[in-house]
Symmetry: C2
Subunit: 257 residues, 2 copies
């Protein structure tokens, strides 16, 4: 499945700055760049944005529920359950926003099923550890991406409200402040790697594979113009930051991105 | 799997009053019988109760997430997602109550995995419709049962708080008032039966199979005394009411219980 993407992934990696240049000590949140709105010109319309991101959230949840079903311990099931609950809360909140536009939520989501399902199949892990790191890496990257993209939506107040749905790993308005599904997954992965250090190289490799497919599915949400060169110039700094956040996420597990 | 239960199921059905005698127009909630505490003598200790009910809630969620993954439409996925989110909220709230007792939640749940996993295997549906009605019937019955059983816990204030977790299909303190996962599932099932009326007899038969296994797993949560006859006398009126609620649940789908 992933093989068909190879050409474009390679193209993407060639645009990526060398890892050594990535600033490491910045805040995990992308708030420091709130004023940069490089992606505004490429923002999809509101209904497409919400349909795509709500469907992505649904597939993130499905990955988490698969990780729950195959979890080796009851404690891990309960822990992943919290991440799954937060993810379902985001999905529901996005569907509520869709309903507010007057669109039919399911029809809006179905515009994205082909692209997103292909991504899901390409990133399905071979065992529990890979499934878990897929949830961690892809949800983290895509939440960052959609939070950023939402800031280009009009009116600005609505854009800010929608952007907040994705931030800090929670999104659901009912979640406890600062609670993060990402932290839950990082703790489980760190524990697994400590227990079996041989996992580290396998998961690092899987993580590198994931980021390519994740960038592609993120790109497919953008509304490209006729001016390819100008589009790429807008996208590049955003993806550089998203990749830096990804690198910090892998660092948190002690893995090389 | 179910065959090994046959003797006891038959015994249980013989204790069940004939359907015709079941009062039909009572409130769906069992609140009218709050003052009856037949099960107090048979209540398990707090940690066992919470461990069992938290693990049951986890398996209810797993059934719902399976129903989501195999749902025929995106609209159905979103709808079941809300029921799944409410179920995860109940699980989390029960685990928080377990933590408050000083017990290790996972260890408390693991006392129940053998009995509950056997039940889950016996009630796993063969297709999406059976999976969905399994969620509807077993979650409804077991929520009613645990809500009732919790009223026998000490101190009474804690019993009331825990009982409320199971009621009205929600339980999670963050859920909107009166919102019910059960209503979501009933709507999906009713729609499916309207679209294909041949489903009715198959799902009615599956529902009858489910109620036997569900009664058995409920019974297995009770703390029997030496006095078998007195135990059964306490249990019978409670199960009669639980079966009446089950009958109303099937009636709501236009199915004979």
């Amino acid at each position: 499945m992933a093989a068909i993407y190879t050409g474009e992934v390679a193209n993407w990696f060639s645009r990526t700055p060398r890892r050594i240049e990535v600033p490491r000590l910045r805040s995990r949140s992308l708030e420091s760049t709130t004023t940069k709105v490089e992606l505004v010109e490429l923002s999809p319309d509101l209904v497409s944005f919400l349909g795509r991101s709500a469907y992505v959230q649904l597939t993130i949840f499905e990955g988490l529920s698969r990780a729950m079903s195959t979890a080796p311990t009851t404690a891990a099931k309960t822990a992943i359950g919290r991440a799954a609950e937060l993810s379902l809360g985001k999905h529901r909140t996005l569907v509520e926003e869709l309903g507010r536009t007057g669109a039919t939520p399911a029809a809006a989501m179905e515009q994205s099923t082909a692209a997103v399902d292909a991504f899901t199949i390409a990133t399905r892990g071979g065992d529990w550890f890979e499934t878990l790191i897929t949830c961690y890496v892809t949800a983290g990257f895509l939440d960052d991406f959609f939070a950023r993209l939402a800031r280009g939506l009009e009116p600005a107040e609505r854009g800010r409200r929608i952007s907040a749905i994705f931030s800090s790993g929670s999104g659901a308005s009912e979640s406890k402040a600062g609670e993060s599904g990402e932290a839950v997954l990082a703790a489980l992965l760190t524990e697994a790697i400590e227990r079996d250090p041989r996992l580290a190289s396998r998961l690092a490799m899987w993580g590198r594979r994931l980021v390519g497919d994740t960038m592609l599915v993120a790109r497919s949400a953008l509304n490209f113009t006729e001016n390819h060169k100008s589009d790429e110039a807008r996208i590049e700094p955003v993806f550089t930051e998203l990749i830096a956040a990804h690198t910090r996420r892998m660092d948190a597990l002690g893995l090389t991105a």
